[in-house]
């Protein structure tokens, strides 16, 4: 889990072009959207592709993203529960 979260931090920074951020700047429990990291709905779509590309998990309804991408921790939990690769 910890390892996956660390990996996700790097992938998040890369996929979303978070230029000034280092992995240690992101807290695993911090909300990714709105108040926390300040991501928006376009980022959510980017993350859906990240899940498919890196973890083979397909999300059909973009609304499901809200829960899955609440924080890095929820994202990691979702990946561990659904990963097929």
């Amino acid at each position: 889990m910890e390892e996956l979260i660390e990996k996700l931090k790097v992938q998040l920074i890369e996929q979303l072009n978070l230029e000034d951020m280092e992995p240690e700047d992101i807290d695993a429990d911090e909300p990714l959207f709105g108040t926390g990291l300040g991501l928006d709905s376009i980022d959510a779509l980017e993350l859906i592709v990240l899940l498919e590309k890196e973890y083979g998990i397909k999300i059909q309804n973009p609304k499901d993203g809200q829960k899955i991408f609440f924080s890095l921790k929820t994202m990691a939990e979702f990946i561990l529960a659904n990963q097929k690769k």
């Binding site: 996929q15 979303l16 072009n17 978070l18 230029e19 000034d20 300040g38 928006d40 709905s41 376009i42 779509l45 980017e46 859906i48 592709v49 498919e52 590309k53 973009p62």
Partner: protein, 767 residues
Amino acid sequence: MTRVVVTGIGIVSSIGNNLQETYNSLINRKTGIGSIDILETKHKNDFLVGEIKLSNEELMELADIDASLAWTRTSLLGVIAAKQALSDSHILDRDELALISASTVGGMDQSEKYYLDFLTEAKHHKYIDSHHAGNSTEMIAEQCGIGGYLTTISTACSSSLNSIMFGARLIQSGKTKTAIVGGTDALSKFTINGFNTLMILDREHCRPFDISRTGLNLGEGAAYLVLEEMNSAIASGKKIYAEVTGFANANDAYHQTASSDSGDGPFLAMKKALESASLIPSDIDYINAHGTGTDNNDLTEGRALIRLFQENIPAFSSTKAYTGHTLGAAGVIESVISILALDNNVAIPNINFSKPIAEIGIKPITDFVKIENIKHVLTNSFGFGGNDSSVIFSKVANDNSSKCVTDKQNNKKPVYIVGAGCVSPQNTVDSSVFLDEVFDIEDKFLQIQKPNYREYIDPKQLRRMSKIIRMGIVSAKVALADAGVDHPDAILTGTGMGCQIDTEKFLNSLIKNDEEMLTPTSFIQSTHNTVGGSIALGHHNHNYNLTYVHRTFSFESALLDCLMMLSNDGSKNILVGGFDEITDESWLIKTKIGHYKQEKLNGSDLYVDTQKGALAGEGSSFFVLSDKKTDNTYAVLEGVDMFFRPENPIEVNNRIDNFLETHGLTTQDIDLVIQGKNGDMEYDRIYQEMNEGIFKNLSVIDYKHLCGEYDTSSAFAMWMASRIINENRVPETISKNGNSFGRINNILIYNQFRNVNHSLILLSNAD
């Protein structure tokens, strides 16, 4: 106010190849949406589309054109619809006829087929130059012999409603008597995959305004309207379909793709359109809604309808379940459908609707409703970048037609340049210097000096922005701050090639990943109005926001619009700018067709270089134009003119003479000419002929050794001219040996692109 009427209609879409077929499909509730048969895409079995079931070869036959030219499907559809409209309105004299067209992705349908071959296969090179958004407009102009103003608008899905608006305004301001207006867009892998990344494509038939809706179906098509000044249309005894009585564009300024929860932009567009028509909500008899079938659009458009019409929403429907969402053509296709409603006293049913959206509970009409005494119909189109437009068409009331009087135009009301900002390959962001030192770089093309973006843009937003968006925003901010203006009445932008970095990024990943695993950001930002929309978003500006995308007419068209607004429409301050960016890939592709030089070059050697092509460049220049002189006034913008494919240098001479005469000047009054020589000897000869002819004995300077060649480089020239007049000096780095200057009162900027698009901008001293 001059009244504008519709006297000709042409349309081609998945529900019919002409007006009659279109109407027949509508009254038979026959959808054009079905499987993908013509377009080659991996998603053939994934999505339904409104596709015209004719191959490009069949379309060529229908269009009756010279098949050897570089035809894109977008151009073919455009020519077919435009020819119908012109013949319907019996327009024979086309020398002064204006053509205002619209498109979102231009010639993408061919570019995406041959993109990788552009560098290797000479046989596909003809499609390199058919890519830009203005190409279909020029193909239509040439095929139809159109000789008046020519321009193209690209504001995503509202594009062609904006072209109707601009055409009507040209007529109202007396710039032309007749205009053909509309838009064209073909289906492409680019847009199908792009909308797929946004996860807003429905795999079934779209269901606008229905609770079960899950997205849109894309479509393709083109439509054009002939607009005329009403008196002459009546005098000619033509059929008059409708009067264009109201229109407005507003910006949602909320999000790049999504509408605000309460539909601010849609609400404002409809409200302002009503105001411009001097109507009240209860006057509207039918609304053709944007109604794409996406979760967000239909909910927020519905909310905007409730806000404006309250309990009395008129009969409304979306017709996207018939045609699909035809993007740049949607506004005009739905205008045609609205006019059909008006002409036949009916409201068109919304198919595939069964249960209303829970949050709003409003029901579109689902049957043909006869509307006795139908007078006014309104149509909506909303696009990315928060670009929202509404147009109202009305039946022409016979009783008051005789009362209509053409306005006496007072175009001499001065327009002042009161703020300027420029990002260029030179140090131009810092306004304390003026080209006293220039960079002497030897390179294959000239790139901008990057400003410290963080000083201007929040890092959170910056992370997503490509170069053109960054330089656009910075130069706009500098201009606004320079003018001391926070809230301009309009934001008008021009760009020839738009967001090339994002377009290339999406196109390359589409091809390399074989239409899989694509991400939305570059697609969203590939739209031409991204910069204009981003400025509106950053400044919470809900006002008129348009983007012109017609090669070297782009910035000039924005200026023309600006002049009309400040002279006629009561606007106070307008932000206007032009920008283009260069990339390695676009540079390399265009060296293949000789547009750009292949070898490195130093700017100072530009005008003696013998290599084929121009030295490519990039930049962004913005201005605040005002109807009032301020302490910060640089100059007066006297006027702008554009002309397409002049037959010979004599015609160019005459155009320049006439242009100056319109402004009460002769060449003798011109203290300085700034001309667009770009180092391409073949076309620089035209400037040379002018210099030995009409410009003989005048001081002439060049500017493209400083900024390179790009479609909106005339904005850089105007920035230079503004500074020269204001400071009454020509920096040594740009004055030629032996040029000496007295008081510089009048500057003429003359630019031309490969002898196709010629433009003139005239500035004068404000004192």
